[in-house]
């Protein structure tokens, strides 16, 4: 049945050589990127690959994930079958049929069942994509073409084996239940017809296989069958709560305005993406109609790399700009500025693509190399640099929040904790109430704490997420020096942004602090009995908790605030539809707090509506930005009767 090896061998060999060459060309493009360490912690990397690629752990989070798991494992099993198909096509002697029947038989069963499952799964996937596409633009020719070829490949497999059985040529037909059933249907056909079906299916199988390795894998999103497995190996282990350190020296350039200014891992990510669209389905910017689609950003990087690759490899300049409105292959500035750095895209990506940090690299270029940014930011940048707070309020006002309370200055040896109040806590009139609540709680629990007062400076979080790394760097250095001089080791923060910056970003400056968010400390104090409430807080009604991105997703603090609420009110808070690691941003992260939301609808309104669906009397937060965004949103939704309270305020209520 097999065609003459003299015809087949050159075809298959050429196809395999071409396959290797096109993969090599792809990976050579990746090498255009800047260096980045991704080969440390090999044990953990292999584990990640096993769990997330072969175990499909993140894929299985979604309803259709199981369907993908079936296709994935069928492909793994059929890899052997297809390898044999090609090898025996070239060297007919090298066939698995030569194995003893006790091994060959079960192998055939595996191939048979895997093919049947893959066929079913491919058909289900096609129907699913028709009826419920993974995202509205998901009904692409590319996707259906790939699924059709998978289905055809499986159909051809059955055609080959069923005719073989029907013709009585199979040695171990009992081992192939699916093919045998099909053979029975073909049993009455005349031999010449069966012969032509057999050879037709063989050629179909061969052609589809060649299309797979020479077209689909190297040139479509189907490349992910190789790259996304590797991407799980190359994953980032740290939560996305920091940004890479940048060195400032004459003659350097900053950020990324061309693909070769991204790292090789950034470029590799673009080849690992299979456009599943999960990132775009969780992106607060995209959902609210802003021109940011994380999936598209990754795809544009890939297109850009392909279009500019040859020129860049020869030391030339990129023809298609990475940043701009040039269309395919370029990321629009509005998209770059729309990101709230909430990290939902990275949390959901089944194969650990890192969308958000790439946008920050592009922001770094825009701010630092071109001084090009939304005009609202000019004031912010000047205020941060001159007065070390976002509003440009005189630093001497920093200690005004405690005019009605006696507060110690921080002194190493005399006070245990530094209470790093933060800009919002010191200047924003609503957040000042939270600061007072935290101070009251600390005093009630007998904590030894002090503040930096007028000497406190902004942590610089917004600057770093907005790409103004140069000014962030200077502020971070000043803060680190101040903390070291003062002998600060333990810090309490009431803002997740200060919390994350002091804990994670300052580590790059050699400062290892024990930073504790107020919700964690209060939780500890309540659990240990050091803080005793005078009364249960009963007047807050139905209470729903909102996870701040920089506390939850970026630092995995989920239970402490919930436990605090449960202890103070006697019942656990209600959950919104999206919570914990799937929580939805308030819209103020990534420096968006200081930007107008001109495009699309408002992110905070989306979140407030989600909260209102739980019919709450109180929305509980643990971040000053979330406080502002949700309070504003509730006012806009005419739901002013619903209060927003910080966890500290809830607890302080119980101390009255």
């Amino acid at each position: 049945m097999q065609p003459n090896p003299a015809i087949i061998a050159p075809l298959f060999i050429a196809s395999l050589v071409l396959f290797a060459a096109s993969l090599y060309r792809r990976f050579r493009l990746v090498r255009l990127g800047q260096p980045e360490e991704r080969f440390d912690r090999l044990g953990a990397r292999f584990r990640a690959m096993l769990v997330y690629a072969f175990g499909q752990k993140r894929v299985l989070r979604k309803p259709f994930g199981f369907n993908h798991l079936v296709i994935f494992w069928s492909f793994i099993i059929l890899l052997l079958a297809n390898l044999e198909f090609m090898v025996s096509g070239i060297f007919p002697a090298l066939s698995l049929a030569r194995l003893p029947a006790s091994i060959y038989g079960p192998l055939l069963t595996c191939f048979d069942i895997a093919s049947l499952l893959a066929l079913a799964a491919a058909l289900i996937a096609m129907i699913r994509r028709c009826i419920f596409p993974p995202y509205p633009e998901g009904r692409t020719f590319e996707a259906y073409f790939i699924l059709t070829l998978i289905a055809l490949h499986m159909a051809a497999f059955f055609g080959i084996h069923a005719t073989e059985i029907a013709l009585g040529r199979a040695t171990v037909d009992a081992w192939m239940p699916a093919s045998s059933s099909l053979a029975q249907l073909l049993g009455n056909q005349r031999e010449p017809l069966l012969e032509s079906i057999a050879s037709g299916c063989w050629w179909l199988h061969a052609v589809v296989l060649i299309l797979f390795i020479n077209l689909l894998v190297p040139y479509t999103k189907h490349l992910h069958i190789i790259t996304s497995i590797l991407n799980c190996f190359l994953r980032r282990f740290e939560l996305p709560n920091s940004q890479p350190w940048e060195e400032f020296a004459a003659g350097r350039s900053y950020g990324a305005a061309a693909v070769d200014q991204l790292t090789w891992k950034d470029l590799f990510d673009s080849f690992a993406c299979t456009k599943c669209g999960q990132c775009q389905n969780v992106c607060p910017a995209g959902i609210t109609g802003k021109p940011l689609n994380p999936r598209q950003v990754i795809y544009d990087i890939k297109l850009n790399l392909q279009r500019n690759g040859a020129a860049l490899q020869q030391g030339g300049a990129a023809a298609v700009p990475l940043i701009g409105s040039a269309g395919a292959g370029s990321v629009a500035e509005d998209a770059i500025w729309a990101c709230t750095t909430c990290g939902a895209c990275m949390e959901t990506c089944p194969v650990f693509i890192e969308q958000m940090p790439k946008l920050i690299k592009m922001r770094r270029h825009l701010v630092q190399m071109e001084a090009k940014f939304p005009e609202e930011l000019l004031n912010l940048f000047e205020n941060m640099e001159q007065r070390s707070n976002p509003w440009g309020i005189a630093p001497s006002e920093r200690s005004k929040w405690h005019s009605i309370l006696e507060v110690q200055p921080f002194e190493a040896g005399k006070t245990e904790y530094l209470f790093y109040v933060g800009c919002a806590g010191a200047f924003d009139s609503r957040s000042k109430q939270v600061t007072l609540a935290v101070a009251t709680i600390l005093n009630a629990a007998g904590i030894s704490w002090g503040i930096l007062g007028k000497e406190e400076r902004c942590c610089g979080d917004s600057l770093r997420r907005l790409g103004n790394e140069y000014v962030f760097d200077r502020m971070a250095q000043e803060n680190v020096k101040l903390f070291q001089e003062k002998g600060v080791t333990k810090v309490i923060t009431q803002c997740p942004h200060c919390f994350s910056t002091l804990q994670n970003d300052y580590r790059q400056y050699g400062l290892e602090l024990e930073v504790i968010h107020h919700s964690q400390l209060i939780d500890e104090l309540l659990q240990s009995g050091r803080l005793k409430l005078k009364q249960q807080v009963t007047d807050l009604g139905r209470l729903v908790y909102h996870d701040p991105c920089y506390l939850g997703r970026h630092n995995s603090v989920y239970t402490a605030p919930r436990q605090v609420i449960a202890t103070a009110t006697g019942s656990a808070p209600l959950e919104m539809e999206r919570h914990h690691n799937n929580s939805f941003c308030c819209g103020a992260g990534g420096g968006r707090m200081w930007l107008e939301e001109f495009l699309g609808t408002r992110i905070n309104l989306t979140r407030v509506r989600e909260a209102l669906a739980e019919k709450p009397d109180t929305v509980c937060v643990s971040c000053p930005y979330c406080m502002t965004m949700l309070e504003d949103g509730l006012k806009d939704e005419q739901a002013g009767q619903v209060r927003v309270r910080d966890v500290a305020e809830v607890v302080a209520e119980g101390l009255r």
Binding site: F248, A249, A250, R252, S253, Y254, V367, Q368, M369, E370, A371, F373, E375, L378, F381, Q386, R387, G392, I393, A394, P395, S396, S429, Q433, Y470
Partner: protein, 270 residues
């Protein structure tokens, strides 16, 4: 062709307090900034540089620590920065200051033809708005104050037409070059320095000109050459007015009190 931006380093006045005993500004620990109006003057010069390719010199009279502000001017795009610094210049009023600045600008004019000198309309520490006009008068340049738009600049024809922002009206004025402009904030939005420029400015040379270079009669500059002196600075005390309610904890209640008060005084009618 040269355009000169006159800039001044001033204390960040939002952070300045007055010593109640001595009635002087408490300047200790107060950061210095480029006078906000001057940032617009410099920006206008830089815009003209972008348009005509002329050179921009930033010039300032001040103590040696004003170097930081000169570096900022360089980081934004000024081609050279000249700091006029000498003990003999210290304690100057606007008359003596404009004399030193005018002399320095005249010296610059010996090297290169000057088209324009642009100043901020006033400084936020002195608030006199006199230095710009003083320089124009001494140099015999056309004097165009309170400019909020350059309507037309004809370098060949050596004419400029500007719009002045006056109270309740605009005035369009045409004058021959060289001219001195003082500008208001509305004229432009200052740019932000790019990082490579900042790094360059950090090590660039600031030209220091003292009186040996300017050769001015010591009795006509500095404290000695200043006929005006400040006898007292004070914050006027609030003698009337009151706080109504608690706007932070009960904004609705406080607003109610305010409305009642306004109705009572018949400042508001139903």
């Amino acid at each position: 062709m040269l355009i000169v931006a006159c800039i001044k380093q001033v204390p960040d006045t939002t952070q300045v307090q007055i010593d109640p005993v001595t009635n002087t500004l408490v300047r200790e620990g107060i950061p210095f900034i480029m006078n906000p109006f001057d940032t617009h003057a410099l920006e206008e010069c830089l815009k003209l540089k972008d348009r005509f390719g002329c050179r921009v010199a930033a010039i300032s009279m001040g103590p040696p620590n004003a170097e930081a502000t000169m570096r900022k001017a360089l980081s934004l795009g000024a081609d050279e920065a000249i700091l006029l610094s000498d003990r003999a210049f210290g304690g100057a009023d606007t008359l003596a200051t404009s004399k030193v600045l005018a002399t320095a600008i005249a010296k610059l004019a010996e090297q290169d033809e000057i088209a324009l000198v642009i100043c901020g309309k006033q400084t936020i520490d002195g608030d006199t708005a006199q230095v710009g006009p003083g320089i124009a008068t001494r140099l015999g340049y056309s004097q165009l104050t309170l400019v909020d738009r350059i309507e037309e600049l004809d370098m060949q024809g050596r004419r400029i037409r500007v719009r002045r922002k006056l109270e309740g009206r605009h005035e369009i004025v045409e004058a021959p070059l060289p001219a001195l402009l003082t500008v208001v904030r509305e004229i432009n939005r200052p740019r932000y320095a790019k990082v490579p420029m900042r790094l360059m400015a950090g090590t660039a040379e600031i030209q220091l000109w003292n009186n040996q270079i300017l050769q001015l009669d010591a009795t006509t500059i500095g404290l000695k050459g200043s006929p005006t002196w400040v006898s007292r600075i004070f914050s006027p005390e609030r003698t009337t007015g009151e706080m109504l309610g608690d706007g932070i904890n009960d904004p609705v209640g406080a607003a109610g009190l305010l409305v009642d008060k306004l109705l009572e005084k018949e400042l508001l009618a139903l």
